[in-house]
């Protein structure tokens, strides 16, 4: 601190007359004490509970709705009275935005809770080893459906990945003209195709090729999933390939390596973890598809390992069937459906986590 500054500080003692002027266009504003929100929230719920007791109603949902509404209104009114209109509106916006987030958590929690509660009933060895062959009500399992899902998904992955990857390579490495713009647009359009339309397409295709009687089979289902899976693969692979720095390509060309060897030896290995992770996440997205498989792969009660002949049950379709066409008594069918739902969620979660793990763990350092 220099001397001149401290001298100046001493020269300007605060003038008392200033204080009055300051209050007129005051910087200070009355503000609600820190824990007002929390207090009002507790109070609102207490009043809502009291109201319920008096009117003789009960139920958690009702209590929550009344409590929250009461809180929003009271908080806004109190803030308006104490802090003024603008801060009160600001506070209301904050309350509503927070509420939106909490509201979205409710279905998520409810869904996970119900799936766990009802799905664990039949989460046993039989479920994963037995089919529904000869099962009238209790017992049985989804082994045939799980097998079907694995076969159909594997087939569609085998078809989609090369097409998707090569298309991405075309878009990033070769395409610059009209064709590449058209492809980009059509990939976007494909992303928006309703899954049931993809099913209708595959079905129509195979009706023309093998006839109505044979059209419903595992392979038809795989083709319908390809329509849904290819755009995901193209998108993620395209993004990953374009992240590979141009300097790497140029370095390779400078060594006299041809373009395709540069792509195979340099570009793809650099982007590999991202591409694999994209494929895994694409699998996670189509493995739970129901609608297209319902009309293309069909539904049977026994194991059918041949995707090119006969209908083949997949796990989502199995869940749908158990719950929509239950026998009597219904409960064993519902139990099997919920366990199927639990297995599906687990598969999707594991695939998603795996995808994230691969991209986080194996991503090359050149990536930003």
């Amino acid at each position: 601190m220099s001397n001149s500054t401290s001298q100046q500080l001493r020269q300007h003692e605060p003038a008392p007359t200033d204080l009055e002027r300051l209050f007129s266009d005051s910087l200070t504003a009355a503000r609600l004490p820190r824990f007002t929100s929390l207090g009002l929230l507790v109070l609102s719920f207490a009043v809502a509970a009291l109201f319920d007791v008096i009117t003789g109603h009960n139920g958690l949902a009702r209590l929550a709705v009344i409590g929250v509404l009461l809180y929003l209104i009271v908080h806004f009114i109190v803030a308006r009275a104490v802090e003024g209109g603008r801060p009160a509106t600001d506070g209301l916006a904050r309350d509503l935005v927070t509420l939106a987030f909490i509201v979205a958590l409710i279905p998520l929690i409810s869904l996970i809770f119900e799936t766990l509660k009802q799905g664990l009933v039949r989460f046993d060895a039989d479920y994963f080893t037995k089919s529904m062959w000869g099962v009238i009500n209790t017992g049985g399992g989804a082994a045939h459906a799980i097998q079907g899902t694995l076969i159909v998904t594997a087939l569609s992955t085998i078809i989609s990945v090369p097409i998707g990857l090569f298309t991405a390579i075309y878009l990033v490495e070769y395409g610059h003209g009209r064709l590449s713009r058209a492809i980009t647009l059509l990939v976007d359009v494909m992303t928006g195709i309703p899954s049931i339309v993809a099913g209708l397409f595959a079905y129509s295709l195979f009706v023309l090729i093998v006839g109505v009687a044979q059209a419903r089979m595992g392979f038809t289902g795989a083709v319908s999933l390809c329509v849904l899976m290819i755009p995901y693969v193209v998108r993620s692979a395209e993004e990953m390939l374009s992240l590979v720095p141009n300097s790497l390509r140029e370095a390779s060309y400078a060594l006299g390596v041809t373009k395709w060897l540069t792509i195979v030896r340099i570009v793809i290995p650099t982007a590999l973890s991202g591409i694999v992770s994209g494929v895994v996440i694409a699998i996670a997205r189509v493995i739970g598809e129901t609608a297209p498989l319902l009309i293309t792969a069909g539904f049977v009660n026994w194991k059918n390992p041949n995707p090119f002949s006969g209908e083949m049950t997949t796990l989502p379709v199995f869940v749908y069937n158990q719950v929509m066409v239950p026998g009597v008594p219904q409960q064993p069918f519902y139990d099997r459906a919920w366990t199927g739902a639990l297995v599906l969620i687990l598969i999707v979660m594991v695939l998603n986590l795996l995808g994230r793990f691969i991209s986080a763990r194996f991503s090359p350092k050149t990536k930003k």
């Binding site: 220099s2 401290s6 910087l27 200070t28 504003a29």
Partner: protein
């Protein structure tokens, strides 16, 4: 209008990192005060503490006092929104709202604070602010064009008009000319000379000639090494700083022997 600003033992942290240490200073009303110093010395940080813009950055914390006519801006009862209403700011990059017309840009602050203002009154504010920013003659025929249609220098003057439309007490300028060409810079410097008739102006600049041209007082900030806090080395009349500084560090910086 125009208030005095006093900094007392100002310390600014970003998380655990002490960015600015022990700044004391007195900024007079209706004057231009310049902050100079090398990059990273905390001069912009100090400027942004004067209208509580710092807390827009997560993790920033201020200790000590900033007194605006004897009211501590960091007092618990002070509302940062009201502070910014009285302490206007102009930024390094001209930042007119891209979705608004020139008129809407100037009136943006009025729109927040006083929605019920009569139309004629609004037009008055519009003309007054644009005139005081020396922009009226250039834009009066195209007030409904987007603010982003103007040149860089015009955009910056539009931002100054936007800041002065709400008649603040203080105007903070954070390197307002660093993104502008020399002619626009000159126009802004002329404007600063006029603005000090009504406002307390504080300007951060990289350009020492600019500080010498526009300001009455100059504060020199520096930093003794990476990871060290920025601090105020010397604060005095601009003439003294540039001709006869008391501190050796200041002299080295002024004469270009710094670093």
């Amino acid at each position: 209008m125009a208030k005095r600003i006093e900094l007392k033992k100002l310390n600014i942290h970003y998380g655990d990192f002490l960015a600015v240490k022990d700044v004391d200073m007195m900024i007079e009303p209706r004057s231009v005060t310049a902050f100079i110093g090398p990059s990273g010395c905390g001069k912009s940080t100090v400027l942004r503490s004067l209208n509580r813009m710092l807390e827009v950055t997560p993790g920033a914390r201020v200790d000590g006092e900033v007194l605006l006519d004897n009211v501590n801006l960091y007092d618990k009862a002070v509302d940062p929104v009201r502070v910014r209403r009285q302490v206007g700011m102009v930024f390094q990059q001209p930042n007119p709202f891209p979705t608004m017309s020139i008129r809407e840009n100037v009136l943006a602050g009025i729109q927040l604070n006083n929605k019920r203002m009569a139309h004629s009154e609004k037009e008055e504010v519009l003309e007054r602010s644009l005139r005081s920013a020396n922009l009226w003659n250039e834009v009066k025929d195209r007030l409904d064009r987007p603010g982003s249609s103007l040149s860089g220098g015009q955009q910056q003057r539009l931002c100054i008009a936007r800041a002065t439309a709400v008649q603040p007490e203080v105007l903070l300028m954070d390197e307002p000319c660093s993104a502008l060409d020399p002619i626009s810079t000159l126009a802004i410097e002329d404007l600063i000379q006029e603005l000090k008739e009504d406002y307390t102006v504080v300007i951060v600049t990289h350009n020492m000639q600019q500080a010498a041209r526009v300001s009455e007082k100059t504060g020199f900030f520096t930093i003794n090494g990476t990871g060290m806090p920025g601090h105020l080395v010397e604060f005095d009349n601009t003439e003294t700083i540039f001709s006869n500084p008391k501190e050796k560090q200041t002299e080295d910086y002024i004469t270009g022997r710094f670093g």
